[in-house]
């Protein structure tokens, strides 16, 4: 892993974590999510929490997190809800950024 890659990754990690900080955990986004069928991790809120726990404490394997993130259809319905009636967290963009983080880390590892 080169120094440059490492800096990029750190930067992206910081961006994602600080983005998640603005979530007030009202869970209103869950009802908006088309893939939500009962489990929080099938919705935006659960996905954000899973990203947070994985990045901060290494909880859950990469594969498990990847499965949660790629089940998102990136339709932004949650983002619309959060923007208008809650804290304005850029939920969908954070999920896409987390996918980018996983891909970047995998590539840097070689």
């Amino acid at each position: 892993m080169s120094k440059n890659d490492n800096n990029d990754l750190k930067e992206l990690e910081k961006e994602i974590l600080s983005g998640i900080q603005s979530c007030i955990k009202c869970r209103e986004c869950l009802h908006m999510c088309p893939t939500y069928e009962g489990w929080a991790t099938q919705g935006p809120y659960g996905r954000l929490m899973a990203i947070n726990l994985h990045l901060k404490y290494g909880l859950g394997s990469e594969e498990e997190l990847s499965n949660l993130l790629f089940a998102c259809s990136t339709c932004r319905r949650c983002l619309e809800r959060c923007k208008r009636l809650s804290s304005g967290t850029s939920v969908t963009d954070l999920i896409i950024k987390a996918r980018q983080y996983l891909a970047k880390r995998a590539k840097a590892r070689g």
């Binding site: 088309p34 790629f70 089940a71 339709c75 319905r77 996918r99 995998a106 590539k107």
Partner: protein, 338 residues
């Protein structure tokens, strides 16, 4: 290259990445992308350049690809254990490139490509000075962004901008919402000095109809409902414009779904973010749900404006066994009415 992503990025997404980076289109089909435009006499240089994108031209290969993925899952091969879908195709004896050869006659049995012709004809009728880049048109690479390959996306974007500059492109009109969003909203953030003016087809049509005060008329009375593609309503924020166009068309009765299922709140067709390549069952379920919501309006035609949504809605209709309902693109409706 693909091995590093094993277990991190689903195989279907890696396959799409390799296709865009190596073959310049999303499904890796070896097909002349500009075949649909050969009879239209579009110039290579004009005030506005039409960006056709991959979706409408290649969506007919997607059906076969999804079928192969589902077959692989039923056979217990487990998609994520495979290194790449392209290899899975080899194992199943399906050759994407070979399939491209079979469908070389563009336009007849293919339900998607004709919408490009409709869009060009509409813009011409409204007096837009329109050109097309033919085989020089690059792939915008938007799936790369949503699948997480940000470095490849930026590399592709910079290369594309150089190409647009060398071809003296200044203004672009896109038809596929995802491609237009990519060129309009993502490129300026990632490419230094990006100065192209990008508009979506619907934006231009709404503007021109308003300016010229045209009221198009449909020959047959149609009762239709409108499905807002997520990339159009929530990424490009075009909610009023398609409705403005449809309200101008005489002979078109628009029946909207419930308020929480339309416009900014429209529900997903299940085709976004590439979820249909790694979670086909879930994606099918969403398509079925969306069809139910749309058909509750009592309409017999579904109008939408995105190739992925059209594919998903057709799948949903099959799933719900509603064969008498039509799915059409807004471009076709406007073209017929004008």
């Amino acid at each position: 290259m693909t091995k590093v992503y094993e277990g991190v990025i689903p195989a279907g997404h890696v396959y799409i990445r390799d296709s865009v980076m190596e073959k310049g289109n999303i499904f890796g089909a070896k097909v002349a992308k500009s075949a649909w435009a050969k009879d239209l006499n579009l110039p290579r240089k004009a005030e506005y350049i039409f960006f056709a994108g991959c979706g409408y031209q290649l969506m007919r290969y997607a059906g076969g690809m999804m079928g192969a993925i589902k077959a692989a899952e039923k056979m217990g091969m487990g998609m994520d254990k495979m290194i790449g879908v392209s290899k899975a195709f080899g194992k199943l004896g399906i050759d994407v490139a070979g399939m491209a050869g079979k469908f070389s006659a563009v336009g007849k049995e293919d339900p998607y490509t004709r919408y490009l012709t409709n869009a060009v004809s509409t813009l011409r009728k409204l007096g837009v000075d329109l050109g097309y880049l033919y085989e020089d048109e690059p792939c915008c690479g938007s799936p790369l962004y949503y699948s997480g390959f940000i470095d490849d996306y930026i590399e592709n974007a910079r290369r594309n901008y150089e190409r647009f500059r060398s071809l003296e492109v200044k203004k672009i009109i896109g038809l596929i919402p995802a491609c237009t969003g990519s060129l309009k909203n993502l490129y300026p953030k990632l490419v230094d000095g990006y100065d192209l003016e990008v508009k979506h087809f619907i934006e231009v049509v709404a503007e021109r109809l308003r300016q010229q005060n045209i009221k198009p008329k449909l020959k047959e009375k149609t009762v239709a409902t409108y499905h807002d593609p997520c990339q159009l309503s929530r990424y490009l924020c075009l909610v009023k414009e398609p409705r403005e166009i449809m309200s101008r068309i005489e002979g078109l009765e628009l029946r909207e779904p419930e308020p929480m299922q339309r416009g900014e709140w429209s529900t997903c067709c299940g085709g976004g973010g590439g979820m249909e390549v790694c979670f086909p069952e879930l994606s099918d379920r969403l398509a079925g749900k969306r069809i139910e919501e749309l058909l509750a309006t009592g309409a017999n035609t579904i109008i939408t404006s995105c190739p992925a949504c059209e594919m998903q809605l057709l799948k949903g209709l099959q799933r719900e066994k509603k064969t008498d309902i039509k799915v059409v693109d807004l471009a076709e409706i406007v073209d017929q009415a004008l």
